[in-house]
């Protein structure tokens, strides 16, 4: 039982990280109609900057703040230099150009920090465990990720639904020509939204650093999972991104933890040994196929 709760928490933790990535990607797609493969690169930039600034300043909080600002700056710069010209192009061009950007980002990181994974530390006060229930000690840092992720989700909901900026974002998603006709600086709105998404991806990378390997190419592994999240949740919908992220996070984590023991009870242990890991790593893609077969627009298709 304790193991199950622990794995559910792990699933939640993966889920909120996927959500931070998916929210930015889905906003950028919903509003600018841009397929941005380089979104994963911003995640990587966030992780590297956080590691670097934490080492340089000695303060974790300061490191996180600087990394967040740094990722925001990198994101806005990328938008201004390269992506801006892509909004009017078709999806094929966008995919290819941002694929090129991934190569550029990965190699730049490799030039600066090398190809091997770098060690990303945690400050002492975040290293402990917290006893949530009798006998269940859960890492403090992972709990923090869940809390921060859910808080960001709530803040995002507030911004999108209750503020003027959110109103513009929603309006831009449903009809951008009309928004521009009403005298809104749509270029500026695009840059703001992109920066916003970049910062969220950076935040996910910053938080991922101490748990996963910080190395060139780390963004793409996450990016493809985020695609699954978006397809499951429905493109352009923040609500869908949250639901999809939690579903994918839980399915993936629980599958990896329990599929093999479960298979061992229905088949022979050797068969379970062979099929378990393979099936577990395929699980979220199978989930995606099922969702598509039943609801091609995703679980929470956005309006228009």
């Amino acid at each position: 039982m304790i193991l199950i709760i622990e794995q559910i928490l792990n699933g939640l933790q993966l889920g909120v990280m996927l959500f931070l990535m998916a929210a930015g990607l889905t906003l950028v797609f919903g509003i600018m109609n841009l397929v941005n493969l380089a979104h994963g690169a911003l995640y990587m930039v966030g992780a590297y900057l956080a590691t670097y600034f934490f080492q340089a300043t000695g303060s974790f909080v300061l490191g996180v703040a600087l990394a967040l600002a740094g990722t925001l700056a990198v994101g806005i710069l990328t938008e201004l230099v390269a992506l801006r010209t892509l909004y009017e192009r078709d999806h094929l061009d966008q995919v290819l150009a941002t694929f090129g950007l991934i190569l550029i980002f990965n190699e730049l990181i490799a030039m600066l920090w090398g190809r091997a994974a770098i060690y990303s530390a945690l400050p002492e006060y975040l290293q402990g465990h917290l006893e949530i229930a009798a006998g269940l000690r859960y890492p403090l840092y992972r709990l923090l990720i869940i809390v921060v992720g859910l808080a960001v989700a709530a803040a995002l909901w507030y911004v999108v639904v209750r503020t003027r900026l959110g109103m513009l974002i929603r309006a831009g998603a449903s009809n951008r020509t009309m928004v521009a006709a009403l005298g809104i600086n749509i270029r500026l709105l695009y840059t703001v939204v992109f920066g916003f998404g970049a910062a969220l991806a950076g935040l996910a990378g910053i938080m991922a650093g101490p748990i996963y390997a910080v190395q060139p190419g780390m963004g793409e592994l996450v990016l493809i999972q985020v695609f699954v999240v978006i397809v499951v949740g429905g493109i352009g919908s923040i609500r869908g991104a949250l639901a999809g992220a939690l579903i994918v996070g839980l399915v993936d984590t629980l599958g990896r933890a329990f599929l093999k023991p479960f298979l061992a009870t229905v088949t022979t242990p050797t068969a379970a040994d062979a099929a378990g890991p393979a099936l577990a790593s395929m699980l979220i893609y199978l989930l995606m196929a099922v969702v598509l077969a039943l609801r091609p627009e995703g679980l929470f298709a956005s309006r228009g």
Partner: protein, 323 residues
């Protein structure tokens, strides 16, 4: 009918390719035999992608999947001691067609960005499957000690013989794709690309046609995968890496999307560029170590400024805008 300049260029290039083994032997540079064989294998794969991407408008970001299925068909059979080339290649082609049927049946129901993400995700699924099967080397891959055997007919271990097999297959595939897109079937595919609603209005349901094209493309790419694993003599899940799918797309774009010869030019351009960046002695060491950085810059510039690719340069200025 008078052959167009582009057809002439294609024939000239094929004739040049036929001369490569002689030239490589004359200058004692067997490396080039290997390089151009690899280029032609990727040209076959790119030609199959061109069929659905260039003519059918289906932006498949997972075409490396079939390269992988073809390679695994040969590699796995060889691992279990079955070396008959006819059987291996038939399984490679049939297996890829079957996988393409399943992936296509689900993904063609969607379009646009969904299609891109789904084809990518399915390929990633196969990639992880390859990684997690320890029996066939998992992450590291396994050596394929004995190449596909065609008793008494041809020996693939002979580099020159293998080279001409690939060249012949490339010519057949280019011709096949050319005939296909100019047939009634191809007309429907192209019509559905330019206007789905009108295609329905004149009485064609695009779905079965698109699916058929998707399966044919998968089968051809499976053949390329079978050739590729014979080329490398090594089976690895990296054949299915998503960057491979991206490279195939770039070959199609570089060569000129939706043209017969485009995939060949694109494969040659991309692989020669990669080869130069990695090993050309006139370039500084810094370029060799981080060659993908420069490749990325070239790719971004091509997309932004030279969308019509190399074949576009050969097109007369009169038929500038393609419809």
């Amino acid at each position: 009918m008078k052959p167009s300049p582009r057809t002439l260029v294609l024939f000239a290039v094929l004739a040049l390719l036929a001369a490569v083994p002689t030239l490589a032997a004359a200058f004692n540079q067997p490396f080039y035999l290997d390089l151009f064989r690899r280029i032609m294998i990727f040209a076959i794969a790119a030609a199959s992608l061109n069929l659905i991407l260039g003519y059918g408008g289906m932006v498949s970001f997972g075409h490396a999947a079939y390269l992988g299925i073809g390679a695994y068909a040969v590699g796995v059979l060889a691992h279990h001691g079955i070396h008959n080339g006819w059987l291996q290649w038939a399984v490679a082609i049939g297996g890829s067609a079957l996988v393409a049927l399943v992936i296509g049946a689900v993904s063609i129901r969607t379009s646009g960005i969904y299609f891109i993400m789904i084809t990518l995700a399915f390929t990633q699924m196969l990639y992880y499957m390859g990684i997690s099967i320890e029996e066939y080397g998992g992450d590291d891959g396994i050596r394929v000690a004995k190449l596909s055997q065609f008793e008494g007919l041809i020996d693939l271990a002979n580099p020159t013989a293998f080279y001409y097999v690939v060249l012949a297959l490339l010519a057949v595939v280019l011709l096949l794709v050319h005939r296909l897109v100019n047939s009634r079937f191809g007309m429907v595919i192209r019509a559905a690309k330019s206007n789905d609603a009108r295609t329905r209005a004149i009485g064609f349901s695009p779905y079965p046609y698109r699916l058929a094209a998707f399966v044919i493309a998968g089968a051809i790419c499976g053949l390329a995968g079978a050739l590729l694993v014979n080329q490398t003599a090594y089976l690895t899940p990296e054949f299915m890496n998503w960057t491979r799918s991206g490279e195939l797309m770039f070959m199609v774009i570089l060569g000129g999307i939706g043209t017969t010869a485009g995939p060949l030019f694109g494969a040659a351009a991309l692989l020669l560029l990669e080869d130069l960046l990695q090993g050309w002695s006139l370039l500084p060491k810094l370029v060799h170590n981080f060659w993908q950085f420069y490749l990325g810059i070239v790719l971004v510039l091509v997309v932004l400024f030279a969308k019509r690719g190399l074949a576009g340069l050969l097109r007369g200025s009169k038929d500038g805008a393609d419809g």
